[in-house]
């Protein structure tokens, strides 16, 4: 058992099927996604650490720990991320292990956190910021969009901005206003930023490390409803580069694409569709800026139909961008217009209504029916 991984997690959990719903159930061989077939680690070679079953929160914690161990310039900054370990406990234990000079409980000011992180990056640090909740990133919006995103171009490439901003985001947790939002499109719209969002523990473990290693600023959106379900994490192989998308279910009739927590919803929809005799392909976008269109276009060229699903508001969204681009690049393959399934264009409603607001497997399947009716 490698250090830093939850001691309670046993490799046998993987074989026992403890993997989360969102475990890629059908991956292409080259994608090296973790599977129960990966050998256990009873007597591993020193560098082989094997597959562990972790929640996404623990996987990110383990990834952050690797990054802190690997580069002394990596710093964590945020509100309540020290002794408390963050409100979602993603940084639990890290301030005890690395000290308050590496894990900073900063003053309570988001613009201040991002602005000082920019100064620290100018000094050669690699700050990793936690924004406590999605809806509280906006006080830092100015520093992110007018400063962080432009420092490299303003310095003619002589200065890099290796800053990661971790944002727990999305609904399904029944919380109060400003705690269930999906603001990723604002950042994907901004040149100079990179935006990613893992859907499962394995990707979260690797993507956080790759984001920290990136010399560009990365907005790292963590689907907070997926913090707790466990899944296999292969600690030896990432499988894919940071900005690659991945086919997580093969099918022939229609392609579904989404990111973050939506991937679990899409896989549920695919399961239901399969019972009805429909073969549905699911693509996990993983990277929202830049978008890796290769696997998506391949898929659409085979299925001829595409549904884009997202928790975010539909108007001027990531889904809109994908719909336009696929229409442009796969025009002759399309048998139906690209359809979008999104949160409504209203403020995220009171939590009692969130199941009406958030796209469900049924809402996705309704769009599948419409696409197939063309």
């Amino acid at each position: 058992m490698s250090a830093g991984i939850d001691e309670e997690v046993r490799v046998t959990d993987v074989a026992n099927g403890a993997s989360g719903l969102d475990t890629p159930s059908d991956t292409r061989p080259t994608e090296a996604a973790p599977s129960a077939a990966t050998p256990p680690v009873d007597s591993p070679a020193p560098e082989v650490r094997g597959v562990h079953t972790l929640s996404m929160a623990k996987a990110i914690n383990a990834g952050l720990r690797e990054a802190l161990l690997g580069d002394e310039k990596v710093l964590l900054m945020g509100e309540d991320i020290g002794p408390l370990g963050g409100v979602f406990r993603v940084t639990e234990g890290l301030s005890a292990e690395f000290g308050e000079k590496r894990v900073l409980d900063t003053p309570l000011a988001e613009s201040g956190i991002v602005g000082t992180a920019i100064g620290l990056a100018m000094r050669g640090y690699r700050p990793v910021i936690e924004i406590q909740f999605d809806g509280f990133i906006f006080p830092a919006f100015d520093q992110i969009t007018t400063q962080l995103s432009r420092q490299t171009v303003r310095h003619d490439g002589t200065l890099s901005m290796p800053i990661v901003i971790r944002v727990p985001y999305g609904g399904h947790i029944g919380s109060i206003e400003h705690h269930q939002e999906s603001p990723e499109a604002y950042f994907a719209h901004t040149p100079g930023l990179r935006v990613v969002s893992p859907s499962n523990p394995h990707d979260a473990y690797w993507m956080i490390q790759e984001a920290i290693a990136s010399n560009d600023p990365v907005l790292f959106f963590e689907p907070k409803s997926r913090y707790w379900p466990k899944g296999p994490v292969d600690l030896d192989h990432s499988g894919l580069p940071l900005h690659a998308s991945r086919v997580v279910r093969h099918g022939t009739d229609v392609t579904l694409v989404g990111h973050g927590a939506m991937v679990a919803t899409l896989l549920q929809a695919a399961d239901i569709a399969a019972e009805e005799g429909r073969s549905v392909e699911v693509v996990d976008l993983r990277s929202l800026s830049p978008i890796d269109y290769g696997p998506l276009l391949d898929s659409v060229n085979r299925t001829g139909r595409l549904i884009v699903a997202q928790e975010a508001y539909g108007n001027v969204s990531i889904g809109s961008e994908i719909a336009a681009t696929v229409a442009e690049r796969a025009f002759y393959s399309l048998e139906a217009p690209v359809l979008r399934v999104s949160g409504f264009d209203t403020p995220f409603p009171p939590a009692a209504l969130e199941t009406e607001f958030l796209p469900s497997p049924d809402r996705v399947l309704e769009a599948v029916d419409r696409a197939l009716a063309y």
Partner: protein, 377 residues
Amino acid sequence: MPASERDFTAPTVQLLTPEGELRATPEAEAYLPLIEALDDATLQRFHRDMTVSRRLDVAGANLQRQGQLALWVPSLGQEAAQVGSAHAARPQDHIFPSYREHIVGMIRGLDPVRIMALLRGTTLGGWNPEETGNFHLYTLVLASQTLHSTGYAMGLQFDGATATGDPDADAAVLVYYGDGSTSQGDANEALVFASSYQTPQVFFIQNNQWAISVPVSRQSRSPLSLRGGGFGMPGIRIDGNDVLISYAVTRQALEEARAGEGPTLIEALTYRMGAHTTADDPTKYRTDAEVEYWQQRDPIARYRTWLESRGASAAFFAEVDEEASDIAADVRRRALEITVPTREKIFAHVYSEAHPLMVEQAAWLDAFENSFDGGAE
């Protein structure tokens, strides 16, 4: 609360009177030894730099009027605040300017043509701080740089690059911003972080009485220097048109910062004698009488009087004037030679690492331009 308790005042620390006499106010006495330690060459350099700044303002405004610059941002009237504080910094210090501190940059080794390139619209930045004496880029979103400077100062601390006890190695950070900018959230958050982390840092507010057309009274009912105390750091109000006090108070504050004693806020009372920028018309919002009042307090005239009283010759002043004119002429000549960058520049450094949209869009633009007869450059 009685009205008297709603009255906030702070003494203005001053060494040189507007008439050019060295007469320290009570709070200024402690700074006299710092001035006494300066040699004649340094004292003359202050005059030279203020004169160069003023001469460059004329050149910049002319270039703008002739359509050679999109904009010129003058420092007229603020020369003492800028020159004194800039000379207070040591080579290892880092300076974060707003957008008006041309002479500060030049003192640190910045070629002013780089500023012209920025205002001519050929770059978004213009220089590499590593090559300009740690003089960082101008920042146009007001007060954003205050947070960057505080983060940088935190980094100095984390690196152990400050407070080791060696003043020739220990570094500090000096950040400039304006009276209007003090109302920005970032300016206040920077003070919070600086105080919390006890950064090696000096906040230098040039209170030039105006934020474009809005007087400082709209930003604050009390002296801005008092904000230091509210955040847990000393705040000092100085006569910003007195180059000696500007030097001495900044010097002292930077030395304290590098020794690990924490940040200081300085409010330099000065006046923007010209327009906000060449796009502004100050006659719409302020009176001639106000401008005349400040003309009586001109920073260069009073310093010249003082230097004369110490025996500086007419020949010295004539020499400085000539040098300033030569510099301005040279900058003007080279500004006119600044060329338009090639179109790759749009895409070249948006990211540090390869990005597919940059590659695709640069290639598309090339193909588009080349599709015209002869291929446009």
